[in-house]
């Protein structure tokens, strides 16, 4: 039954008070800032696994941030904060991919000027590393949604139990799939490595 409009707001306030993360607007902002600080690099990597164009990745990152901000008051601590965040991020990414009518366009994945500072000094080694990374991201992008979600969570360091919580798949299914996906990704990266050297 639909409640009259004057009865809805107090109920929303009561529901918000029961949540694990926030009870007030200022808490919501604090939680959002903390999540952004903690997970922004991971969320940007996730965006790169769905879109190759920088503008599309930036749009997706903003959509994820917006969805997180809207979801914070509804979080009830039924899963860990990390799995809850990744669920939202992946679901938003899938929605965004489905709605995207953007022209598929090959674009350099990483600009050398933003190259991660590493111990690698030689240009050749940097080039090789860049190629391998590109191969990995391209291969991840070509995976089916479920496989992509599993491998991304795995690469971000989530445990099997956390991946189970995020995806709803059993640990056995996750292990089987991961083994297959990892072998495939390694093969793709190796092929690119051989092609470059």
């Amino acid at each position: 039954m639909r409640l009259p409009i004057w009865k809805r707001k107090p109920m929303i306030a009561e529901a918000m008070a029961e949540t694990a993360l926030v009870s007030e607007e200022s808490d919501r902002n604090d939680v959002f800032l903390r999540l952004m600080q903690q997970f922004e690099p991971a969320l940007r990597r996730l965006s790169a696994a769905y879109f190759d164009r920088e503008a599309d990745r930036a749009d997706l990152f903003q959509e994820i941030a917006l969805a997180l901000w809207q979801a914070i008051p509804k979080f009830r601590g039924q899963s860990t904060e990390r799995t809850w965040l990744y669920r939202i991020a992946h679901n938003v990414a899938i929605s965004s991919s489905v709605k995207s009518h953007r022209r598929a366009r090959r674009e350099e994945f990483l600009s050398e000027e933003f190259e991660h500072p590493s111990a690698l000094a030689g240009a050749e080694e940097r080039l090789l590393l860049g190629e391998k990374r590109r191969a990995l991201v391209d291969s991840v992008r070509r995976l089916a949604a479920v496989d992509r979600q599993i491998i991304l969570l795995h690469l971000e360091g989530l445990t099997y139990a956390e991946i189970e919580e995020a995806t709803g798949l059993s640990e056995t299914a996750i292990a089987t799939r991961l083994s297959r996906i990892r072998a495939k990704l390694k093969e793709e990266v190796r092929k690119r490595e051989v092609g470059t050297s």
Binding site: R87, S97, L110, R133, L155, R177
Partner: protein, 203 residues
């Protein structure tokens, strides 16, 4: 490659590129939410205002028109516009967002359900949104024609307004039932293809 660790290292070695910073993102999400709410409110009030003007004009016409057909048509148009105002005020925010904190299967199913609901709604637009005011306009036009015919003032140029509003209604029908439904069906199919592989669930 040495296995997962090297894949992991390779993955995490991606440069972060440009980071927005939490404060900037907070301002962005707050601004976008407010802009969206404002845009929806403005759109709804403009449409309500336009419908209000229609109610006033045709309500007055329903009371004053001499021809019975024109009166009936005016009444139907005013009633249709009142219904549109009610609908906008009650459901004007559009479909509820699907909760993205579910697992993939639950989320995909919820999205599919929403697509089905939106498709059904758009396909029914012709019955609850377009047909009543269109029939009202036809009745009203027939009434005007009959009235003019009585005085001998009916001319070929009187056919222009019904032609224009028929074209407008046809365009709205096409946008809803052909263009939008087609786009939604494409998105639905893409979603199903993307999320097809989901065996091995815990349940």
């Amino acid at each position: 490659m040495n296995g997962q660790d090297e894949l992991h290292d390779l993955w995490c070695s991606q440069p972060s590129l440009k980071t927005a910073g939490g404060e900037d993102m907070l301002r962005f999400v707050q601004g976008r939410t407010n802009r969206f709410d404002r845009a929806m409110a403005v759109r709804n009030w403009i449409e309500c205002g336009a419908a209000g003007v229609v109610v006033a004009i045709f309500g007055f016409s329903a009371l004053r028109a001499e021809d019975a057909l024109a009166r009936a048509g005016s009444f139907v148009i005013a009633a249709s516009a009142t219904w549109i105002i009610f609908y906008l005020l009650r459901y004007g925010r559009g479909p509820q967002d699907v909760d993205p904190s579910q697992d993939l299967r639950g989320y995909a199913q919820a999205l599919v359900n929403r697509y089905d609901h939106q498709i059904k709604l758009l396909k029914s637009v012709k019955y609850w949104y377009l047909l009543p005011p269109y029939l009202g306009l036809l009745l009203w036009t027939l009434g005007i024609f009959r009235d003019k015919a009585r005085t001998g003032a009916l001319s070929w140029s009187d056919s222009i307004p019904p032609t224009i509003y028929t074209a407008v209604f046809a365009a709205i029908w096409w946008l809803n039932e052909v263009y939008s439904v087609g786009r939604l069906r494409q998105e639905r199919a893409k979603l199903l293809a993307m999320t097809a592989s989901s065996e091995g669930r815990t349940e």
